[in-house]
Amino acid sequence: MQTATSDSAIRKIQGAFTGGHDAFRIRQVLQNHGRLSTSAFELAEDADLYEAGMSSLASVNVMLALEGEFNIEFPDQMLNRSVFSSIAAIGAAVKQLNGA
């Protein structure tokens, strides 16, 4: 049991830092607002968030929280299921808006 716990803790730490600081903040938003069935810190970057249990209503809260967290506004054409389908996809969208 102890080994399993520490394995999960290690996965959590590794997951949290995969993809840099932005990805960590995205995971934090998902953890707080995504209503996922697993921890956002244990998900792969490209894991499908909808398959992980994020409902469409929860995804709107995630969008809202991301706008607050990164001080950005997603234009309407980015408010699309596919843009918010994985941590990597969200990271790319955030990067695009921050770089613009």
Binding site: Y50, G53, S55, S56, N80, R81
Partner: protein, 387 residues
């Protein structure tokens, strides 16, 4: 367009003849559906190369509106059938099984019912408790459905469920159940104020079938891309049809009053003029959204765009607006017809229309839809004036 003409013939004859009895007995409109099958109306949404008529949204909606004008239940059943066919036709064409099935549907004019509601999900169609369980080449699927419209009269069911036993509640797929794959055990009754002929009690569904009957892809996508737009636009069109039926009765009474005293316009005619304006606004509302939907389909981004908040809001707006307006229109029609319209057995009776149209704000509750739109508006900017 030939289908619409054929439906108009059914409307004027068989559907009008049986509508009152369908309502009173709360029975399936089998005469009307036999006539619709003979007119090949059940394959209107099947692509042409698979033996159907390949009708777009505008045409399908016109069919539902025309039928609902005389028989609301028939209009709703045809709408729900078109919605199920559209789900298979828009998301199943890569599957040899579904191509073959749609061909069979067109050939035999099969009627498909929808099983989206479930005991315990409290009306949220985007989450399921039941799951399809694959066992080799076959699946097992059991669902405790709160309602299955015309379930007992359908040739097949299209069921929402979780993708697998360990999937999240919102990770859903659609599964087709053909006659012989399933048993239905009725759990509740359908003795309602209106829409009585849709025969929509609860059922326990027990089924098993080959795995190729699981529709490819994810219901998360097919819901936003097909189930929701087809539902809201076709429902809006049939609700407008019901209101139009009531107004037609009011108008016939005003004309018969006018004939008694040529040269003087009856006082109720001014109210008729006003309600006609409301009816036109409702009709133009669904027509505009249907035409926009059809125009979008030629774009290669069509499926992507339908996943966006802009379309979700547009469809919610249509649903809320039309379902509220149609009740007011039927109410005005009743004021024009007066006590004659209030009588159940007069030729200008609008009681059935009134009872039927009250379902519009309840079937997917407007409260729930407004709450969803409100949440979306927290991030939606209307920066392209899309809504």
């Amino acid at each position: 367009m030939e289908i619409l003409e054929a439906i108009r013939t059914v409307v004027a004859g068989i559907a009008a003849q049986h509508a009152a009895d369908v309502d009173e007995a709360a029975r399936f409109p089998h005469e009307t559906f036999a006539a619709l099958k003979a007119a090949r109306a059940l394959s209107a949404a099947v692509p042409r190369d698979l033996g159907g008529q390949g009708c777009g949204m505008r045409e399908l909606a016109a069919q539902c509106s025309a039928l609902a004008q005389v028989c609301s239940a028939s209009g709703m059943i045809l709408a729900m059938h078109h919605i199920q066919v559209a789900c298979m036709a828009r998301h199943g064409l890569e599957s040899a099984f579904f191509r073959d099935y749609l061909q069979r549907l067109a050939q035999d004019q099969l009627l498909i019912a929808s099983v989206t509601s479930e005991v315990g999900t409290f009306g949220d169609t985007r989450s399921s408790i039941c799951a399809v369980e694959r066992k080799g080449a076959r699946f097992e699927l059991n669902k405790d459905a709160t309602t299955i419209s015309y379930g007992a009269s359908a040739d097949a069911l299209l069921v929402t469920c979780r993708r697998a036993a360990d999937s999240a509640a919102s990770d859903q797929v659609l599964v087709l159940l053909q006659k012989g794959d399933y048993t239905l055990e009725q759990t509740t009754n359908w003795n309602t104020l209106g829409m009585r002929g849709t025969c929509s009690p609860g059922f326990n569904v027990r089924s098993s079938g080959p795995v190729e009957q699981i529709l490819p892809g994810s219901y998360a996508d097919s819901s936003a891309q097909t189930m929701v737009p087809y539902s809201h636009i076709l429902w809006a069109s049939l609700w407008q049809g019901i209101a139009g039926g009531a107004v037609a009765r009011a108008a016939s009474q005003v004309r018969s009053e006018a004939r008694k005293k040529p040269g003087t316009v009856p006082p109720s005619a001014a109210n008729l003029a006003k309600v006609m304006a409301q009816l036109q606004a409702v009709r133009h509302n669904w027509q505009a959204v249907a035409e926009e939907f059809d125009a979008l389909q030629v774009s290669e981004n069509a499926m992507q765009e339908l996943l966006g908040l802009g379309w979700a809001l547009k469809l919610n707006n249509l649903k809320m607006s039309v379902s509220d307006s149609v009740v007011q229109i039927v109410h005005q029609a009743l004021q024009i017809t007066g006590i004659l319209g209030y009588k159940n057995d007069s030729p200008v009776s609008v009681g059935r229309h009134y009872r039927d149209v009250l379902s519009a704000s309840l079937m997917v509750s407007n409260e729930r839809i407004a709450a969803k739109s409100a949440a979306m508006l927290m991030v939606f900017k209307a920066d392209q004036a899309a809504v």
